[in-house]
Symmetry: C2
Subunit: 142 residues, 2 copies
């Protein structure tokens, strides 16, 4: 999660909402990304979705069943559904997102019988640091 | 929807699940795409998400508030959440997807108070042709 937080800090430095993600496989980081929605004019360029796309490209596979995702904020519904589609094994996230999260809030993507795959979910790792980074970013925009 | 069906047929010819999408603005098509998940090893490379990314890149905007999306199959939860994030005005889809759809099935993405935007939704246009194309594709794979 330290590496994901570093990606979040880099995103903030680029003027993006500070969220970062890494994907690990057998304890090694195989992909890392920060938010780039503004830079790329791409509403899907959230940190976790960019990391999933990078890992899939690296492994030449649409699925990542032996990989874990670490992200500094609760994934939104689109990213949560992408995590399900990519069959990630575990999801670790730092801070909850009551306004826009899709794992423990809103559509709670993994709870539907229709979800093709639900990862194991762990939350709260480095939550304070991630939340402080997001608060500072939005305070600076006001 | 005819143009979206043509994209779906092209996807089938490439060995991809035959779903196609186009985005229109002021009655003109500004982006068109078919499924490319296998070719790109990318679980996010669904027709409608590729078309949204193409339209956003063309307009240099994360949002498409004066655009409409036409897709041959009910969007999955990830694509539905992306449609919400991109603020598309209207969604037209051909065939329902009881197994994997996220608009009228499963998490019903647009129905949550938390959804930041819900497009107008119209379904059933060219439903029979789209459903027949999907049935023929999956029958050929068995």
């Amino acid at each position: 999660m330290d590496a994901a937080l570093a990606e979040a800090r880099s995103a903030a430095a680029r003027g993006e909402v500070p969220v970062g993600a890494v994907i690990t496989r057998n304890g090694q980081i195989i992909a890392r990304a920060g938010n780039r929605t503004r830079e790329l004019h791409d509403p899907t360029a959230h940190a976790e979705t960019l990391a999933i796309r990078e890992a899939c490209a690296a492994l030449k596979s649409e699925r990542l069943p032996d990989c874990d995702l670490w992200v500094t904020l609760e994934p939104c519904p689109a990213c949560a559904a992408t995590i399900s589609a990519a069959r990630l094994k575990r999801l670790y996230y730092a801070a909850p997102d009551p306004k826009s999260g899709g794992v423990c809030h809103g559509p709670r993507i993994f709870t539907h019988p229709q979800a093709h795959h639900a990862p194991e979910v762990y939350s709260g790792l480095l939550e304070d640091q991630s939340a402080a980074l997001l608060r500072a970013f939005f305070a600076s925009k006001r």
